[in-house]
């Protein structure tokens, strides 16, 4: 009898509250919870909305330039971009320099690793206070699997230096996303274990010093996350011969080891970073926008 009572109690415990745990009903699996809750009606679309729509259809990336609390949480501080900057930025940087050539030249990498959302930030990322100076290009936004974001859109310029810097930084930020998605790997973190400069040490290092220590630049020696991302950044920015030359000059086995790891990791995802460099160099420097 006593056992029966216990059994009934346990049963009630298990099933009793089930319904109430889903007070709004069962989760509807056909609903895309990642899409925006309130879609802007077509009657309100401007030129950029039409452009974003065609980019989404062509490349599967939703470009976001208008902020709502669904885009920006209460604990993050980004400034929305100015419309007259966001429009040419989307046309030139996102469409012509990033997505189109990537899809054409590296379809496997494009298909597997392109985020489904991209957020434009007018200024840079403020970590704690919206009124203080900020410099981070995309940190905080890019620790998510499905969305990438870039700061500095209000500075948009068709000057080649700006375009090159920005697209290289975009691949750097994207590397953070890859890092979060798959991990840098156990072995990558062991190469320079105990040799990182930390927050206080990295800014005083010259590139040559950093390379001798096993990092591409001072900032790469800040922490393993930036070490990984700066590896990608440097392979996108510089040619294969430049990279190999620096490895020789630096005499750093760590630098070479990590370079090979990151290069191979990206090869496995369908992109040879040296070829990506050639592509980026070509779309930035051989075309006038």
């Amino acid at each position: 009898m006593k056992k029966l009572i216990y059994l009934i109690t346990v049963l009630i415990l298990l099933v009793g509250c089930k319904k109430d745990n889903y007070p709004l009903g069962e989760v509807d699996e056909t609903v895309d919870y990642f899409s925006k809750k309130e879609v802007k009606p077509k009657s309100q679309w401007n030129e950029l909305d039409y452009l974003c729509d065609s980019i989404q259809k062509a490349y599967g990336v939703e470009i976001i330039y208008e902020y709502t609390p669904r885009i920006i949480a209460g604990s993050t501080f980004f400034m929305p971009p100015q419309y007259d900057k966001a429009l040419p930025y989307t046309k030139v940087m996102l469409n012509k320099i990033w997505l189109k050539p990537l899809k054409e030249n590296f379809p496997v990498f494009f298909k597997g690793e392109t985020p489904i959302e991209f957020i434009l930030a007018g200024g840079y990322v403020h970590f704690n206070d919206p009124t203080t100076t900020a410099t981070a290009a995309g940190a905080g936004m890019n620790g998510q699997f499905y969305r990438l974001g870039m700061g500095g859109v209000n500075n948009f310029s068709t000057g080649k230096t700006w375009l090159k810097d920005h697209i290289v930084t975009l691949y750097h930020e994207h590397a953070h996303q890859i890092d979060h998605k798959y991990g840098r790997g156990y072995l990558f973190d062991r190469v320079s274990q105990g040799k990182y400069y930390g927050l206080t040490g990295y800014s005083s290092k010259t590139e040559a010093q950093a390379q001798a220590d096993g990092f591409w630049k001072g900032y790469g020696g800040y922490a393993p996350e930036e070490d990984f991302a700066t590896n990608v950044e440097y392979m996108v920015r510089y040619s294969e011969s430049w990279i190999k030359d620096k490895i020789t000059v630096s005499k750093s086995q760590d630098l070479e080891k990590k370079y090979k790891m990151v290069h191979q990791k990206y090869m496995d995802m369908g992109v040879d970073l040296h070829k990506l460099h050639l592509m980026v160099d070509s779309v930035v420097n051989k075309v006038n926008y």
């Binding site: 509250c17 400034m79 900057k85 007018g122 840079y124 704690n128 919206p130 209000n154």
Partner: protein, 338 residues
């Protein structure tokens, strides 16, 4: 005895089980029965915002030693979701700015979704205004008032909800916020009998006439090379502060005023939608010194031009500045004949 004790525990747990689930049922019942409520409130807010042809006014408090509030005139085009912003710091640029009214959670929200003067003021911080977000909860709507509250109150860990602005319809006689520019030191037609002429300026404080002041002044134009340097110090532009934007490059002029008790010196106000703006520039020490001295002495940071009357060689101008409710609290007169 032991058995009774066990049974008691079982009964007590059952009771707890049954009652502990009740809370959810109560709170959700209301929302289930009022699915349209949020939609309705948001629609109502939209209708009211569109109802004022001349727009709505937010009065923002500044961090400067000024007793007047910064008026921000917002005109909402609810068909295209465009917002047109005019304020006293500089002339509004041509770029488009957008807003959205969303259902929000609990209250509908008014959000300045793209970069605009509104996000610029949020970025600049307390010196220019007490705005702490570009997203607002709409906390009250009536035929002539829309009360909005900044969604965030400042930096991380600060409490939820900032200042509440009771927006009112733009007064019809705020001609400065209309399209026509009639007060413009960059225009040769305007500067005739004004530039280089020794005139008088009188500042009146409506609630404190004992503070009234009169001083001699000379207004003069700025040479192009100097102007470029001064424009470089305009704090609301992208090259100074990347999160900002929405203003045109301003025109500055020189306004002579008594600096300390013995010398006269130029302060350089910026022209802005028929307003002269006494907002300190960034990065130039001498400008900061004189501008701050001017603000601290007269306790104003702008003067909107109400009228320019020319009779022969005589030019008279009337100016005003407003309190938190948009009432005139400071008046000023310029007369080119001392």
């Amino acid at each position: 005895m032991k058995k009774v004790f066990y049974n008691l525990i079982i009964v007590a747990s059952l009771l707890m089980l049954i009652t502990s689930c009740e809370k959810d049922n109560i709170s959700n019942g209301y929302f289930d029965a009022n699915l349209e409520r949020q939609e309705k409130v948001a629609q109502e807010a939209k209708k009211v915002l569109a109802s004022s042809e001349t727009g709505w006014v937010m009065m923002a408090k500044v961090g400067l030693n000024s007793e007047v509030y910064t008026p921000i005139v917002l005109k909402f085009d609810t068909v295209k979701n465009r917002v047109f912003v005019k304020t006293v710091y500089g002339e509004t640029a041509e770029t488009e700015s957008f807003f959205r009214i969303t259902n929000g959670t609990g209250a509908p929200q008014l959000i300045f979704t793209s970069g605009s003067i509104m996000s610029t003021l949020y970025r600049i911080g307390t010196q220019a205004s007490d705005i702490t977000d570009h997203m607002y909860n709409i906390v009250g709507v009536s035929a002539d008032t829309v009360a909005i509250q900044c969604y965030r109150s400042g930096k991380v860990y600060a409490k939820e909800g900032g200042v509440i602005y009771k927006m009112f319809k733009r007064p019809k006689d705020w001609k400065w916020a209309d399209g026509e520019i009639y007060f413009d030191m960059s225009s040769p037609g305007f500067t005739q009998n004004v530039a280089g002429v020794s005139g008088n300026m009188k500042i009146e404080y409506i609630n404190n006439p004992s503070k009234n002041k009169t001083f001699e002044t000379i207004w003069s134009t700025v040479a192009p090379t100097n102007l470029a340097t001064m424009q470089n110090g305009f704090p609301f532009q992208i090259s100074r502060n990347i999160g900002t934007g929405g203003f045109k490059n301003p025109y500055y002029f020189y306004l002579k005023f008594p600096y300390t008790t013995t010398t006269n010196y130029d302060v350089s106000p910026a022209m802005s939608n028929n307003v002269m703006s006494f907002y300190p520039q960034s990065g130039y020490t001498s400008n900061l010194t004189y501008m701050n001295y001017f603000i601290n002495t007269y306790n104003i940071h702008y003067l909107t031009c109400k009228s320019v009357i020319r009779t022969g060689n005589n030019v008279k101008m009337e100016f005003e500045a407003y309190d938190v409710k948009g009432n005139v609290s400071v008046k000023a007169q310029y007369d080119n004949l001392k």
